[in-house]
Symmetry: C2
Subunit: 360 residues, 2 copies
């Protein structure tokens, strides 16, 4: 492990229980029946514990969208041609994608990172070039990347959060782009959970039945050739992962170490969360699962990590789109906690336990 | 029926199918796999059909929160004392409630309407006084209101939407406040659906088991004494309804007649939707069910009306809080439709059907 990864893992602490107790007490004093805002109340208390503040604020919001290519695309596992990764990075920079639209709506900045797109990019305003390599190798014939590349990818994510935190960062959403990356994510889930590949693998952008069967066979071959060690997340990342998945795992670890809530998007971000929680189980408390996607295997992944999604809108785009909606809900949660009047302030009577069934 | 109700019912038309086709075609041309934004895509197409525009915009947003008291509270069915209705109306006006916070977050105006709070109010800035009567009568001993009061309540809602539409109104959320109003809503659901009262009745603000059993018995008594005609929604509203429920039913009908999407909040707003769709089944297409609440009976109600909720966050507050979150999702949906780049604009390659399972 690199120095900064080691330091980060040691810096991850439990949530602040006194901030959570204070937030719970405040929720119960606000002018509404106790618990009546359901998961928004729970979310506000989790964020209080993450931030270490009884009344947190989420002013600075960032969506970190990482892109990379995947050598396994050579096996014919994807609906879209590989050059779409590159084209979509340019589309992010030009503001034409779904994540641009949703980030604008919630007032978040989008940080687009090239972690390893084939061909690379000339310097472009709005694009962070952190190329580990020009695409991974084909995991169906050998390791997707070296062990060093895997730790480098993690450290890019860690360092990025450090830089962004200095600009102000109260909540992070993870996002991804990479033709072939559901294949890598399914392989990671199968490797770490021990589940059968059929159960961890879905249609990605929309492949047909026979293509799905082929995708399953390719992933089984990759696992069989590489034999990733399920107890060693970096080994799994190196053998069947992707550069953007490693980068996002680093973002998640750094978010947890800096007490910044991390809103997890869909299946690929979930694979990054699997790597990160494998390296430090404590990280789980810092995660907010925005949604369960339509990609088969995502619910299984969330169950394995122990996360309960906020939304189920049949989405399966990635980029951070589900996570952007999750940031909105997180903001709603902390605004309610911070801005509502208490019973005492508003002069509203509290609940009474009725004395008789016939009323008073 | 009053003149304006009659006119409104005749003015409700089917959705605009050509706008929906154009919206569907545009969604399929945007730079994402087709259908990958799931329910956001469906929502954008529904709103296109409602507004009669291929690319609608939701600029002016209003949450209409109606308050009233309920005579049935005399039976001891509620956790909170009756004066809380009045106190919460003042809390709405002062900006201290959950709906104030969430409306501010989404940039919506909150319209607070006194439909029949006991004692009424002196003129207050920010409060619309449309008192039908100072609370309904106790439905456990006779009709909650007269037939005329029921149509008056509907017409208040209708006229309010007309006034607000003149100020600019692109989407409406419904909200409620009224101690005792889950009791009225459960009675409406049981009366119209024919379901057993045990299945339509929940804990409201949080009553205990024995209080719940008593609440069920009170509702059964109200239905047995009043014998509302399930085929006559105004009869049901009059006998076991509430003024805020009637007002919201009017809001829903007027929204549909003016081609404004109406985002339905929780159980009480759902009861209003039952009345409205009973008067005009076509109205259903204009409704967006924001969430399924934790109140028992709400899922049953949504199934009966034929609505699929967007959210399930275990909320049960009312006021329009769930609907405010629904407005956010509706805005996300139309922004994606209107603002994303197409494949052609962004120079992104479209999906290919692979020629062989071994790839290309």
């Amino acid at each position: 492990m690199g120095d900064s990864l080691d330091t980060i893992l040691k810096a991850i602490r439990p949530l602040d229980s006194s901030a959570m107790t204070a937030a719970r007490q405040r929720q119960d004093s606000l002018t509404k029946p106790q618990g009546s805002l359901g998961r928004l109340e729970e979310l506000s208390i989790q964020i209080a514990g993450i931030r270490g503040q009884a009344i947190p604020e989420l002013k600075h919001k960032a969506i970190i969208t990482m892109a990379a290519d995947h050598g396994v695309v050579a096996e014919g596992v994807s609906l879209y041609p590989q050059e779409v990764t590159r084209q979509m990075v340019l589309n992010f920079i030009q503001g034409g994608t779904a994540i641009n639209v949703l980030a604008d709506q919630i007032g978040a900045r989008v940080i687009v990172v090239d972690m390893g797109v084939i061909g690379g990019f000339q310097p472009l305003p709005g694009l962070l070039c952190k190329t580990i390599d020009f695409g991974t190798k084909n995991m169906a014939t050998g390791p997707a990347m070296t062990h060093r590349q895997a730790t480098d990818a993690l450290e890019v994510g860690i360092e990025l959060v450090e830089v962004e935190a200095n600009k102000g960062l109260d909540i992070i959403a993870t996002g991804d782009m990479g033709i072939g990356n559901t294949t890598a994510s399914s392989a990671i889930l199968a490797a770490i959970s021990g589940e059968q590949v059929e159960r961890t693998t879905g249609r990605g952008a929309g492949i047909r039945d026979e293509q799905l069967a082929h995708k399953v066979e390719v992933i089984e071959r990759a696992l069989s050739i590489n034999r990733p060690d399920p107890k060693d997340p970096i080994d799994v990342l190196a053998k069947v992962g992707g550069f953007e998945i490693g980068g996002l795992a680093g973002v998640i670890l750094a978010g947890a170490s800096q007490r910044i809530p991390v809103v997890i998007d869909g299946f690929i971000s979930g694979a990054a969360a699997l790597i990160a929680t494998g390296l430090s189980p404590q990280v789980k408390d810092y995660l907010i699962a925005a949604h369960v996607s339509a990609e088969a295997g995502h619910q299984l992944l969330l169950d394995f990590v122990g996360l309960k999604p906020l939304l189920n809108l049949n989405m399966r785009l990635g980029e951070g789109t589900g996570a952007a909606l999750g940031i909105f809900l997180a903001e709603a949660a902390v605004k309610v906690l911070g801005q509502m009047a208490t019973f005492a302030e508003a002069g509203v009577s509290e609940a009474e336990q009725l004395q008789s069934e016939q009323g008073v």
